[in-house]
């Protein structure tokens, strides 16, 4: 009789996440994910520029609906992601351990990510009230400024495989943007597992797209793509940043740098992360008398 551990191993295929689908890279390229000892644990897609283009197309399509949704509903969905992540905690802890993290660190990373999602879920319907203003002006105008999402945002994920990724993703989508996440090349397993969580959390198709691959290779294509509104770089390495800034000038993309050393630091979670990815729209509305009572707008 066979013993239980004689089973043939069932290995997971890690694919990309584009427009609510899990396709392989169109390029057919792949690379190996390694554990701490250098043993291969999985194959990952080495995404190409065309995968990026598809992902950006999906994010652009999704933007209208996502940004127009009630802020409260966006909050509910972010909370739902946290719920789903909570119920699949063990999978993420195991994956982090496989990539070389200690069990306690893996647990801290996963729980931290869940709590961070809850934090930003709460902010979804509050930041507008805090950061929008009615401005005193010297003319007969009602003048107000409101936050609006920047649009399609590319996120270069940091090395922290889950907490770091969630910490850049959550403020981005909480503010009504849609995202293309380029996972850290060597810490990418959790990114694709997170895609499975997102896929079952009522996050509309295309709001988050996740690619694995070589960030440096994809950077120029993303930086020069005219349908991207902003790019977040969270690597500590400043050399990546100057080239990114240069290439992003073509369509005046915003380039935002979040160099974080410790993603567990609660200073990392802040509504200012949301407003970093917001444009401020100011409206001048002429005031006129609309009734004999003196009320006006």
């Amino acid at each position: 009789m066979k013993k239980a551990n004689d089973r043939i191993a069932v290995l997971k295929t890690y694919k990309l996440y584009i427009g609510g689908q899990f396709p392989r890279t169109e390029s057919g390229r792949y690379y190996a994910a390694l554990d701490a000892k250098g043993n291969k644990i999985a194959n990952l897609c080495l995404a190409s520029r065309k995968d990026c283009r598809e992902a950006i197309g999906a994010a652009r399509t999704a933007l209208g609906n996502w940004s127009m949704r009630a802020a409260y509903n966006r909050g509910q969905i972010l909370y739902r992601i946290a719920e789903m992540l909570e119920s699949r905690k063990d999978q993420f802890i195991a994956e982090l351990c496989a990539q070389g993290m200690s069990r306690s660190a893996a647990r801290k990373e996963t729980v931290g990510a869940i709590d961070r999602l809850i934090h930003y879920a709460g902010w979804c319907d509050k930041y507008q009230a805090l950061f929008s203003t009615v401005n005193p002006v010297a003319s007969n105008h009602y003048n107000f400024s409101v936050c609006e999402p920047m649009g399609v945002v590319v996120l270069f994920a940091p090395e922290s495989p889950l907490l770091g990724l969630v910490s850049v993703l959550a403020p981005c989508i909480a503010g009504g943007n849609t995202a293309i996440v380029i996972a850290h090349q060597f810490k990418a397993l959790c990114a694709i597992s997170l895609a499975e969580v997102l896929n079952s959390s009522d996050v509309p198709v295309g709001v988050v797209n996740i690619l694995t691959g070589n960030q440096a290779e994809l950077m120029p294509w993303l930086a020069e793509h005219k349908d991207v509104n902003a790019i977040v770089q969270s690597q500590k390495d400043p050399s990546l940043l100057s080239d990114l800034r240069k290439k992003a000038t073509g369509n005046l993309k915003r380039v935002i740098h979040w160099p974080v050393i410790d993603w567990h630091d609660t200073a990392v979670q802040s509504p200012y992360r949301i407003t970093d990815l917001q444009e401020i729209k100011t409206t001048w509305h002429p005031i006129q008398q609309i009734a004999g009572s003196g009320s006006s707008y």
């Binding site: 520029r49 283009r53 950006i56 652009r60 294509w221 020069e224 793509h225 005219k226 349908d227 073509g250 369509n251």
Partner: protein, 309 residues
């Protein structure tokens, strides 16, 4: 381009429709192989420019206004002025009531005006109404008529009725070239597509066209392949050429290039010309322009750098 006047049988005869059954699996596999060709660099650019020149820029909405049609005509002539050397599209395709507007807006340019007619899109009306609508469109100045066949009659087996209808419309068209829309999405099988194509060609079609764009599925590669093969067989038999127009659902340049590959490998380079091949499309032009810009500038484009319609 001059075409030999087709010698048409005056009357319908069942022998017009004899053909071996279509091997659906074979057609689908053959069509899928056309999508595997690698078209890069200069060939890609040539393909994109050819695609632009083959587009029938279409607006067929109940809400069409003269303003909308004039805007579309302007676009036909000025696809993207930032780039020099772009072709114009082949034609503007509108309802009969907008033909005059389009004709005036296009002035003396080479862009043709195509008009749908014959109770488009359903074709559910009397012969006399269809004839008078066609006559109206031609009198307004249409260079091309896109008619729909009576699918109900065709599916009921009244082939002689459909044949006579096409022949009667062809007569009213005069100098205008006649495109016959089979509405393949309603025909049910590739065998029926083949049969309808043969019927339309025998009755005098200058072009056969897949769809109205109002029914799903519209143009697909397998359906178009069956129609191209019918055209090829007709050419081998009679030496007369017929044009092809897939319409509906072709909105990306990549797909358009697949169609051109199929055209080239089925009918050969003689058909690679707007006189013999058209794309019925509204959003394809902008997608092709974005690809051309990508080839020229080296970076991916955004739709808002191009005209809205």
């Amino acid at each position: 381009m001059s075409s030999i006047k087709p010698i048409r049988p005056a009357l319908y005869s069942p022998s017009l429709l004899t053909a071996p059954p279509v091997d659906q699996t074979g057609v689908e596999e053959r069509a899928a192989r056309f999508t595997k060709r690698s078209i890069k660099g200069d060939s890609k650019m040539q393909g994109l420019l050819l695609t632009l020149s083959m587009i029938d820029l279409t607006t067929l909405e109940g809400k069409d206004t003269t303003g909308k049609v004039e805007q579309l005509c302007y676009k036909a002539l000025h696809l993207h002025d930032a780039f020099e050397g772009l072709p114009t599209v082949a034609a503007i395709c509108v309802y009969p009531s907008q033909v005059r507007t389009a004709k005036n807006a296009l002035g003396g340019s080479a862009v043709k005006v195509a008009s749908v007619a014959t109770a488009f899109p359903a074709g559910q009306s009397s012969r006399s109404i269809k004839l008078s609508e066609t006559r109206f469109a031609v009198e307004e100045g249409a260079d091309e008529i896109d008619m729909v066949i009576s699918r109900g009659a065709f599916l009921a087996g009244e082939y002689a009725f459909v044949f006579d209808e096409i022949a009667a419309i062809k007569e009213v068209c005069g100098q205008a070239r006649l495109k016959v829309i089979l509405e393949t999405g309603e025909l049910g099988s590739l065998d029926e597509v083949r049969k309808a194509s043969q019927l339309a060609i025998a009755a005098g079609a200058d072009f056969i066209k897949t769809s109205t764009g109002k029914i799903q599925p519209a143009a697909t590669l397998p359906v178009t392949l069956v129609m191209l093969e019918t055209i090829r067989d007709h050419y081998y038999k009679t030496g007369n050429r017929v044009g092809m127009k897939p319409a509906g659902g072709i909105s990306t340049s990549k797909l358009a290039l697949h169609y051109l590959v199929m055209l080239n490998e089925t009918l050969g380079p003689d058909w690679m010309h707007p006189h013999w091949f058209r794309f019925g499309a509204s959003s394809l032009a902008n997608n092709v322009l974005m690809q051309i810009a990508k080839e020229k500038e080296g970076c991916y484009q955004a739709p808002h750098y191009f005209s809205v319609d």
